[in-house]
């Protein structure tokens, strides 16, 4: 999932100065799972904003809505009937949803209510960790399904480096050495011969180095 974390309300407030009606807009997908921008977080932010506005004596209507997704136009279109009632939108979707909402409603100011962090997984309740950087050319078949691009600080394709110590990265004791994980995994799979093979130079043009990316599938395109 795309992992995000809630922005402090203090950061959001200045953007809403002068607004008389604000829509807090959540998303039912990734940000719901990582508890940053689902229905409950929408309720919390909206409630906090109402408390603040009431305390300041400001008459501001704060609406709440959570869409199935903010990254698909058909769901964003559900807002068409109600969005005009609001002066501003605080979107708790990931950066994709925030931008897509703004694209769909160009005359409406849309502000981020979360910081979008990475693509990751839940290690346990309340702890999420990065697992993928969307590099556009997946190497996981070669590395025992442990990603050196996302999990090695140096993105080394043939590691480990000299900073690996007792299975940990030189960044700190809390960071696993990705290449140690790869070796452990290949050993467990009985595929250590894969470790002996050098991974060739990666085509980074499929990563961000090639600029903003797009995927087109003509067979499903409308």
């Amino acid at each position: 999932m795309i992992v995000a974390e809630r922005k402090p309300i203090e950061e959001i407030l200045p953007w809403l100065e002068g607004a008389r009606s604000v829509l807090v807009l959540g998303c039912n997908e990734c940000v719901t799972v990582c508890e940053a921008g689902g229905k409950k977080e929408v309720g919390m932010l909206a409630s906090a904003l109402r408390l603040l506005f009431a305390k300041e004596g400001r008459e501001v209507n704060v609406g709440e809505r959570t869409l199935e997704r903010q990254c698909d136009p058909e769901y964003l279109d559900e807002l068409r009937d109600t969005i005009d009632a609001y002066d501003a939108v605080v979107s708790l979707a990931c950066g994709v949803g925030i931008q897509f909402t703004a694209e769909r409603y160009p005359s409406k100011p849309v502000y981020p209510g979360v910081n979008t962090c990475f693509m990751g997984a839940a290690l346990e309740r309340g702890v999420w960790a990065e697992r993928c950087q969307g590099c556009g050319q997946c190497l996981l078949a070669l590395t025992g399904a442990v990603c050196p691009v996302a999990r090695c600080a140096k993105r080394l394709l043939n590691g480990p480096c000299g900073g690996s110590s007792a299975g940990k990265c030189e960044l700190g004791p809390e960071v696993d050495c990705a290449w140690q994980l790869i070796i452990d995994r290949l050993k467990a799979l009985g595929r250590m011969e894969d470790y002996e093979r050098l991974i060739p130079v990666k085509d980074w043009s499929k990563d961000r180095a090639g600029g903003p990316r797009k995927v087109v599938r003509e067979d499903v395109r409308s």
């Binding site: 704060v62 609406g63 279109d77």
Partner: protein, 131 residues
């Protein structure tokens, strides 16, 4: 024992403090409550194992938020006691009462109804999707 506690306190029964969500606490203040005390079972005595520990974390989270919002984190607290600890309940009730008196009324004002802006679920025709 027939012990008295401040009349201003309204008791809301929940099956377990683990049921008390952060949003429930926020709604109390949004609707004008001057203070809230969450009364959970003693730590280690939760019938559902960890309900009161969860509640404690949520109370801390919301109290911190209330403090940052300028409403006052001291208006929200949690106490752990058993159903037979009436004197402790009365003590806690008086303490939150005193804390609220010291903090003054909820700056939000008197109890209010939910906002007038129609939510999506209340808006007729919300299912209509325009091109």
């Amino acid at each position: 024992m027939r012990l008295g506690y401040p009349e201003s306190i309204k008791i809301i029964r929940v099956p377990c403090t683990g049921k008390v969500d952060a949003l429930h606490l926020m709604r109390c203040f949004e609707r004008g409550a001057d203070g809230v005390i969450v009364v959970g079972c003693r730590e280690g005595d939760c019938h559902y194992q960890s309900g009161n520990f969860r509640a404690r974390k949520r109370v801390a989270e919301v109290a911190g938020l209330l403090e940052r919002l300028g409403i006052g984190g001291e208006r929200l607290r949690m106490v752990n006691l058993s159903s037979s600890d009436a004197p402790l309940f009365v003590k806690a009730a008086r303490e939150i009462h005193e804390a609220v008196l010291a903090a003054g009324p909820n700056p939000v004002g008197r109890p209010r109804r939910p906002p007038a802006v129609p939510t999506a679920s209340e808006t007729p025709g919300k299912e209509v999707i325009r091109p």
